[in-house]
Symmetry: C2
């Protein structure tokens, strides 16, 4: 509530001097400096961010745009972004789009109006490409990709490779009839994962069937039920993410199908949940923490980098829903 003027008056100096003491932007006579510090203490002065932002044209804010706060993957990602941003002295403002393009456009505009210093987008339908391009603040797109090169940088995990890794593990564990519960094909990550899985299977001459699904639990439930009817002789499920894999397990369990003995199951993302559940889920890990860190770093270095795309490696995490040496093929 008290302003810099009151502090200045109390310390018997000018507002400029108070500003200099607070920011260390210039040397101030030691005696005056102490008077200022004392006045700040006494008044409980905290500089108004809006005024500072207005002048500096920087709110020390990074906008993080995710499709849903209730999806554990994005939540973990947010944690990583927040930690890194905090270490750099930036605040994170989180926005969900709920998958709505209109919301996404509004958010971009709002962040611009808020004098945000950068935007990390994990949710970009192609409809907002032009909005991204028009953004005057740095935009880093992670996880999901837009078609054209419209953002300032991209960070993502190699989903194609992840898909191959998943399929390969299933095949090496003896699966002969794999079903892919594949995600929405207009989302690049889902498209890539499926492609990797399909390619690997055809290279090894393994049959692969597809059930369409999206990244949600409910969709996973339905897709798995459909799968049991359509492909009753399946012996391996490659799910598009962990949430879907968990729902698949639930349906298999309800139907008395043993995992991994009768059907093996692999997820994607390595969300915390995948390790908490019983049995623990075999999955493909994305280096979430690293993606978050890299995204923040890229968004903060406004200088143009030649390398605009950072691709990180996925990793196979073998746990209990697939057969493997560790547990003697039992699961």
């Amino acid at each position: 509530m008290p302003s810099i003027k009151e502090v200045a008056a109390l310390a018997n100096v000018s507002p400029a001097t108070v500003s200099r003491v607070m920011n260390g932007t210039a040397k101030v006579d030691e005696e005056k400096r102490e008077r200022v510090l004392k006045a700040i203490q006494e008044t409980g002065f905290v500089p108004n961010e809006a005024a500072r932002t207005l002048f500096k044209r920087s709110a020390k804010i990074i906008g993080l745009v995710i499709p849903s706060i209730e999806n554990p993957f994005f939540t973990q990602f947010s944690g990583a972004v927040e930690r890194t941003a905090d270490a750099h002295g930036y605040k994170v403002v989180l926005f969900n789009t709920d998958g709505e393009i209109e919301k996404e456009k509004n958010i971009l505009q709002m962040l611009s109006a808020m004098n945000a210093d950068g935007i990390i987008l994990t949710t970009s339908s192609e409809g907002v490409d032009s909005d991204i391009q028009n953004c005057t603040i740095p935009v880093v797109v992670t996880d999901r990709l837009t078609k054209k090169n419209v953002a300032d940088a991209y960070v993502h995990c190699d989903h194609y490779r992840g898909g191959r890794l998943a399929a390969e593990h299933m095949i090496e564990n003896g699966c002969k009839h794999i079903v892919c519960l594949r995600g929405k094909q207009d989302i690049s990550s889902a498209r890539e994962r499926y492609l990797g899985c399909k390619d690997m299977c055809s290279e090894r001459d393994i049959k692969v069937q597809v059930i369409d699904c999206d990244y949600s639990f409910e969709a996973g439930l339905k897709a798995t039920e459909e799968m049991l009817k359509t492909y009753p002789d399946a012996d391996g499920i490659v799910a598009c993410n962990d949430i879907v894999a968990i729902s698949a397990y639930k349906v298999l369990h309800q139907n008395g199908i043993k995992v991994p003995e009768q059907i093996q199951l692999i997820g994607y993302d390595n969300i915390q949940l995948s390790e908490l559940m019983t049995p623990e889920l075999t999955t493909i890990a994305q280096p979430i923490e690293e993606i978050g860190r890299k995204a923040v770093e890229l968004v903060l270095q406004q200088k143009e980098n030649d390398e605009k795309e950072y691709i990180l490696e996925p990793k196979l995490i073998i746990r209990e829903t697939t057969k493997n040496k560790k547990n003697g093929g039992k699961g």
Copy 2:
């Protein structure tokens, strides 16, 4: 990037008129109004929030302070807060304290500097009581309570009643030897839950033992292992929250103990995960959505309400980790 001046110049009116058109704060000649609208369109003008905030002393922001973004309960809560705030035209800025008092103090100060319009605190160690009291913006404390009446309002679920409900269900399902995996006793919610459980058990002459724990997965794992050694004849576990219950299940499963046949298990919170897991977890539901909604509403109605405390009812959700009629006592 363009300012109101440029728009005004293009439309051949004063900045004041542009402001009036944008905000509808006064009648403007229809012809001029259209010129302004056109100029806004052409320049892509978006008013600078910092300037507006500076003058209005309101950033249209609600600060939400939680102990951890990776705890699903708080994540779901954030979702509810965000939805309600959005409906009222407010943005939400999320901060984690990671349980650190110093961070919490900084955050309160920062929100004040940001010209936030209100604060929802889910994490208040008693060390910040004075900071809350000194806050000039409305503060609503939810879920966890401070000792004294320092905030402007409180919203929470009746944890004591929830504890009773949990114990009662266990007893009615035949448990004779209950172990409570109780949370940190300096957190009011954990204290109340335990108290409710203990009281109900002693009223029904049932033995209740205690293992100390905190709200995390790792702590739950350890506590359960300890429990199996210390109280091998336990037939019911009342966990302090769902995360701990899930970790308990994991340990029981690893030890070949059947749930609910040999040991029954109940959690607390009804996080999404509790329904996703197999078997589905019996738990006490907090009306998360309602707590979030109420908290936002309270924080926005700055006028003093007589009723400063809102206590919502918990609800027993019977699923598969306790014996019950629905599944013929099998689980």
